[in-house]
C-alpha cells in the first residue's frame, strides 16, 4: 500500500475544504438553522410531539442525515470530477497508486468532511432543543456508515459525470426527492396506509429511521432492516467501484 499517497490525497482534499470553509461548513449550518426555524418553530408549535418526542428534537436525526447525505455526495463527486475536468487527473493516473488507494484518499476525505458537518449540526441543534442520545455509539456508527457509503456513491457519480450538468443531475433528481420523502420531517406512521407501503421502497427511510432509533429508541422500521439497507447500499457502491477499477471505465482510455 502506498500509504503516503493516500494521506497526500486526503490532506489535499481536506485543505481544499478548509480553503472554502464558508461554503463547505458554514453554509450547511445556516441552512440547518433555517430548517429549525421553519419546521421546528412554525410547524412544531402545532405538532407538539411525535412518538413521545418533542417535534423540534424529532426532526434532528433526519436533518443531520439529510445534510450529511447531500454533502457526502457533493463532496465526493466534486472531489474526483474536478481533477477530471481541469485535467490534473493525469497525475493520479500516472502515479504509483492503486485505484483502491485513490478511492480511499478521495472518499475518506469526503466522508470526513460530511462527518464533521454532521457533528457540527448536532452541536448546533443542541442550542435549539433538548437532545438526549440513547445509543451514542450506534448513532456515531450510523453516521459514519452513511458518510462513507454516500461518499462512495458520490465518487461513482463524479467518475460517471461528463459535465457539470450530469454532476448535479443525480443529486437533484433522485437523491433530493428520496431524502425529502424519507421521513426526515415526519414519522411514516403519520402517512395514509398506501403511502406507508410505497415509502418502504425508499432506502433513505431506513437510514433516517435507524439513526432516529439511536437517538430516541423508537423507529419506523426495525433497526436490523436499517442496518441491512445501509449495508446493501454500501455493498452495491463497492461493487460498482470494483467494476470501474477493473475496466478503467471513464478514467483510463
Amino acid at each position: 500500500m502506498n500509504w503516503r499517497a493516500i494521506l497526500t490525497i486526503y490532506r489535499a482534499e481536506m485543505a481544499r475544504a478548509f480553503r472554502t470553509i464558508l461554503q463547505s461548513l458554514i453554509a450547511p449550518i445556516i441552512s440547518t438553522s433555517l430548517y429549525f426555524v421553519v419546521f421546528g418553530t412554525a410547524i412544531g408549535s402545532r405538532i407538539q410531539e411525535v412518538e413521545g418526542v418533542a417535534y423540534g428534537a424529532f426532526i434532528v436525526p433526519g436533518l443531520i442525515m439529510l445534510t450529511v447525505l447531500m454533502q457526502s455526495i457533493s463532496n465526493a463527486s466534486f472531489g474526483i470530477y474536478f481533477p477530471k475536468f481541469i485535467g490534473t487527473i493525469y497525475e493520479v493516473l500516472s502515479a504509483p497508486v492503486s485505484f483502491l488507494e485513490v478511492v480511499t484518499g478521495y472518499v475518506g476525505a469526503a466522508a470526513s468532511k460530511s462527518l464533521l458537518i454532521g457533528l457540527v449540526i448536532y452541536l448546533t441543534a443542541n442550542v435549539f432543543v433538548d437532545l438526549p442520545v440513547q445509543h451514542p455509539l450506534a448513532a456515531l456508527g450510523f453516521l459514519i456508515l452513511t458518510c462513507v457509503s454516500f461518499s462512495l456513491f458520490g465518487f461513482i457519480i463524479g467518475i460517471w459525470a461528463k459535465n457539470f450538468e450530469q454532476l448535479q443531475l443525480v443529486p437533484l433528481l433522485v437523491v433530493n426527492p428520496l431524502v425529502f420523502l424519507g421521513g426526515a420531517f415526519y414519522s411514516i406512521t403519520m402517512l395514509p396506509p398506501v403511502w406507508q407501503r410505497i415509502t418502504l421502497f425508499n432506502p433513505v427511510v431506513y437510514l433516517i429511521s435507524g439513526f432516529r432509533w439511536a437517538f430516541f429508541g423508537t423507529a419506523d422500521v426495525g433497526v436490523g432492516w436499517s442496518l441491512a439497507a445501509i449495508g446493501a447500499f454500501t455493498g452495491a457502491c463497492l461493487a460498482v467501484i470494483w467494476l470501474i477499477f477493473r475496466t478503467g471505465w471513464r478514467i483510463r482510455t
Partner: protein, 308 residues
C-alpha cells in the same frame, strides 16, 4: 548502454476504433535525450501516455527500468516523470504545495531541501507561495516540470514542452533539459518543431501514422542523409552543361546561370576543388558560390512523404 525504456510491438486501438499505434517498438537508452518527432496525430502522445500508465495498451509490452508497466506498475511509474502537453494545474493550489503533492503521490518521504533546490533551478523559488493561476504561461510550464521532477524520476517525458512558447522561454527550456541530462536523467521529448530536435536531442525517432519510421543518432542521421549542395552562379548564361563536366552530374538552373553540384560532406574527397578547376578550364566564369546542407526538416518531410 542498457535500455531504460523498452517498447515492444505496442499497439493501441481506442474504443472509437481509431488505431493510434500500429506495432511500435522502441528502445530508449539510459541518459540519452530522445526526440520523438512527428506531425499532429502521429501517435506521439498516445505512446507517451501508454508508457506512463494513463492509456492502456491493446497489445505489446512495455518495461521501464526492467519493470513491466502493467504487472509491476508501481516500480515502473516510480521511475517516470511526465510533463503533459496541456497546462493542467489546480488553479488555487500554491506552487510549493502542488509540487509537494506530486511527491507525496509517488510515495516519497518529504525532502524540503531537494524541493527548494528544484524550485531554485527552475527559477520558481520566489513564486513558491503564489497560486498557480497567478503565474504566466511559461512559469506554469515550469511548475509542471517541477511536479514531474518532484519524486526524482530517472526518466522524464516532456510532451511538446515548447508548443506555443516564445523563443526566449524555448531557449531556457532547452537549457533546463541540458542541466537535467547532466544530472543523468533520461529525457524523451515529443515535438513537431524540427529545430528543437536538432538543437537538443541525441537521437531522433520519427513517428507517423502510428508507426516508427526511423530511430537514428541525430548526428549520424544528418550525416547520412544530410547531403550538401554547392551552387555555382555563372557570369554568363549557358545552354547546356559542357561535356567535360559530365562526371559531376551537374544540374543546370532554369535561367542557365547556375550549376548545382550535390556531394557528400563526409566523403574522403568532395570533388569541389577539381570541379572548380574544371569549370575554369571549360571557360566558365564564376560569379558566386553557395552551399546548403539539408536539415532534419528536409529529412523528416522526405520520410513522411515516402510513407504516404
Amino acid at each position: 548502454m542498457a535500455a531504460i525504456v523498452s517498447v515492444e510491438t505496442l499497439g493501441k486501438t481506442y474504443d472509437s476504433g481509431f488505431e493510434a499505434l500500429k506495432g511500435v517498438s522502441l528502445a530508449i537508452e539510459e541518459g540519452e535525450i530522445l526526440a520523438l518527432l512527428g506531425p499532429n496525430g502521429a501517435g506521439k502522445t498516445t505512446l507517451i501516455s501508454t508508457i506512463c500508465g494513463i492509456t492502456r495498451p491493446t497489445s505489446g509490452r512495455i518495461t521501464v527500468g526492467g519493470h513491466d508497466v502493467i504487472s509491476d506498475y508501481r516500480a515502473s511509474r516510480m521511475l517516470i516523470g511526465l510533463v503533459p502537453q496541456e497546462i493542467t494545474l489546480e488553479p488555487f493550489a500554491k506552487v510549493l504545495a502542488t509540487v509537494r503533492f506530486t511527491r507525496g503521490l509517488f510515495g516519497r518521504p518529504p525532502d524540503e531541501a531537494y524541493l527548494e533546490r528544484l524550485l531554485r533551478q527552475l527559477s520558481l523559488w520566489d513564486k513558491r507561495d503564489a497560486a498557480t493561476r497567478e503565474l504566466s504561461g511559461g512559469m506554469k510550464r515550469r511548475v509542471l516540470i517541477a511536479k514531474a521532477l518532484s519524486h526524482q524520476p530517472r526518466v522524464l517525458f516532456l510532451d511538446e514542452p515548447t508548443a506555443g512558447v516564445d523563443v526566449d522561454l524555448r531557449k531556457s527550456m532547452w537549457q533546463i533539459v541540458e542541466e537535467l541530462r547532466a544530472d543523468g536523467v533520461t529525457i524523451i521529448l515529443t515535438t513537431h518543431y524540427i529545430e528543437e530536435a536538432e538543437a537538443i536531442a541525441d537521437r531522433v525517432a520519427v513517428i507517423n501514422d502510428g508507426r516508427i519510421l526511423l530511430v537514428e543518432d541525430k548526428a549520424r542521421l544528418m550525416h547520412q542523409m544530410g547531403r550538401k549542395e554547392l551552387t555555382v552562379e555563372l557570369q554568363a548564361p549557358i545552354e547546356r552543361v559542357p561535356e567535360a563536366l559530365g562526371r559531376y552530374h551537374l544540374a543546370l538552373g532554369e535561367d542557365g546561370r547556375s550549376l548545382t553540384y550535390g556531394y557528400d560532406r563526409a566523403a574522403e574527397r568532395t570533388g569541389i576543388v577539381s570541379l572548380l578547376k574544371d569549370l575554369s578550364a571549360a571557360g566558365l566564369v564564376i560569379r558566386d558560390l553557395q552551399t546548403r546542407q539539408s536539415s532534419l526538416e528536409d529529412i523528416f518531410v522526405g520520410l513522411v512523404r515516402e510513407e504516404a
